[in-house]
Assembly symmetry: C2
Homo-oligomer: 335 residues x 2
């Protein structure tokens, strides 16, 4: 398994910790009862375009972090916000959007830290989640050979949206302004491009799916779950590493949104590359015993199976090793 900067550093770090807590999307704090905690930052120019509207930054920040709670099967409870804002940042627009979105998810903003930062806006959000008494926490370990591998929704679309944003697409309120080269697109293709931009900037955390998974009786089967933030390939490597198993996925089973492959062709991008390594999909990837399936309205799609070892992808009948390729926030190299 080709390691990368972030995973290598985390492994080094875990060797030095008294309690091996780091490794899931959120941490479960044993001495505090049923509490999961997650922390994530959104950095201007790294995770979002510096000119993203304050209201959209607030929504994206919340969604990305709520996705980590969804991956644990947690119920959102409290938010703590550290906001280091660039000059000219409109705090009121940010907070009105943040509070409105938080209310929809049952989140209470309970504290934080406000500062100026001439070098660009950075927002770090800490979320605390709880769970129902008889529910289980979801973790990355727990995948078993013979179990099915699932994705909670489509992948690759967010990365296509990022490509469009890099080439000039912008969100203006609820409208998406596409760059000039998209004028040559057909009307359905322009709609697909707009959807991709929205998907990138306004991901939808799969909290209902996470709670359904967490509500499955722990006695009947183990379940492994995490959210896809760095691409299916990299995150599946992580899940398999934590569970000590392998996996095989079928390229044909990867769920794409309508017109996704046509959009990729128009953008000069490989749909499978975006789906496997694009990242920021914020759907859940999880394992279930073969006899179990989530309710269809929660959007799950079976993409493969857990095996004893090795990660493989089958495409057009050929079985190839699935490399650990995805967005790495720490490595300098290309993806």
């Amino acid at each position: 398994m080709s390691a990368n900067g972030e995973d290598r550093l985390l492994r080094w770090l875990r060797g030095r910790l008294v309690t091996p807590l780091i490794g899931d999307d959120a941490a479960i704090l044993p001495s505090l009862g049923a509490v999961a905690v997650t922390v994530d930052s959104q950095i201007a120019g790294v995770h979002f375009p510096p000119d993203l509207a304050e209201a959209d930054l607030a929504r994206r920040l919340l969604a990305v972090n709520l996705s980590d709670l969804a991956a644990m099967g947690a119920i959102p409870a409290y938010a703590f916000l550290a906001l280091s804002a660039a000059p000219g940042f409109d705090h009121k627009k940010f907070f009105l959007s943040f509070l409105a979105a938080g209310r929809r998810y049952g989140l209470t903003l309970a504290g934080g830290d406000l500062a100026r930062h001439p070098g660009g806006t950075i927002a770090t959000l800490t979320l605390i989640g709880t769970k129902d008494e008889d529910a289980r926490w979801l973790q990355r370990r727990g995948a078993e050979p013979g179990h099915a591998l699932w994705l909670g929704g489509t992948v690759g679309e967010s990365a296509a949206g990022r490509l469009l944003i890099e080439r000039g697409a912008r969100l203006a309120g609820s409208r998406v302004d596409l760059p000039a080269f998209c004028q040559a697109f057909s009307s359905p293709l322009r709609a697909a491009a707009r959807r991709a931009v929205r998907r990138h900037l306004r991901p939808q955390p799969q909290l209902a799916l996470g709670r359904w998974l967490g509500a499955q009786p722990a006695t009947s089967a183990t379940i492994a779950a995490m959210d896809v933030s760095d691409g299916v390939a990299r995150d599946l490597h992580r899940l398999c590493h934590e569970s000590g198993v392998g996996a095989e996925i079928a390229a044909e089973a990867l769920p794409f949104t309508a017109s996704f492959t046509t959009l990729c062709a128009a953008l000069g991008a490989d749909p499978l590359e975006l789906a496997l390594a694009g990242g920021e999909d914020y759907v859940l990837i999880f394992t279930l015993p073969p006899e179990l399936a989530p309710p269809p309205e929660l959007g799950g799609r079976r993409i493969g199976a857990i095996t004893r070892r090795g990660l493989f992808i089958v495409r057009d009948g050929a079985r190839r090793e699935l490399s650990n390729a995805g967005w790495d926030h720490l490595s300098d190299g290309k993806k």
Copy 2:
């Protein structure tokens, strides 16, 4: 009371929150039992010099946040770190120092988020604290007219250290390198200058004092407490605002370290200005009924009394209004 950017924004924000949780150094989460949570960021170029060694940044980040837990009377339990590191940042040096310092305070690093940030290092730390079952949480409200006002330690020295750093002083391991103009200083004055730099970069959170205050029976007296991060003047205004009271302090009672006034003279700074508005002292400011005093080894000093309204300072027999002047992370104006 002359409002400033941060306080104004927080008041606006509090008017929009369902639960009025924001306002203390840490938040107490009612539904989670005895848990206090605090979040604070350290930003290169804003809170620390960009060339500060990774090990020193780790210690300062922890100390500043632990001071918020001290202000609540909390016992440190878990840490979550979001680290957005500038190119060339040595993560291992940072984490070795962070973990060693955390161990001393009983902290477990339980999770976090690592990212690169070309614009400079920003570290955001979320700390979760607990308390003994029969202890109380300390809060900013609870100050009563007639009660004594205390400081947990000396003030102004950290701001003198910041002045020295701005003029070239640096920490090199445990040694402080002073800038050339300090060669004219006497040996005790150079020692005071080195102490000031260390005090600024390595504050000592007053956890023992916080726990002593929290252990006082809640039935016998109310106590108000917070930590001095933005200067005695500004933070006392906040404490009085939360408690709905006034205060009068005696300038002569403000505790200074040895040679502090001589050091201020050498730096062309007014000791009272640094003590009242310098900030980043990370000592506790608190109120106690007149008959109660902390054990001397915890370092408390009585500096005045709580009154019904108005904030005043008495100096050389003259009584003047104490303006709300301190470091404001949000206002653009000078202090």
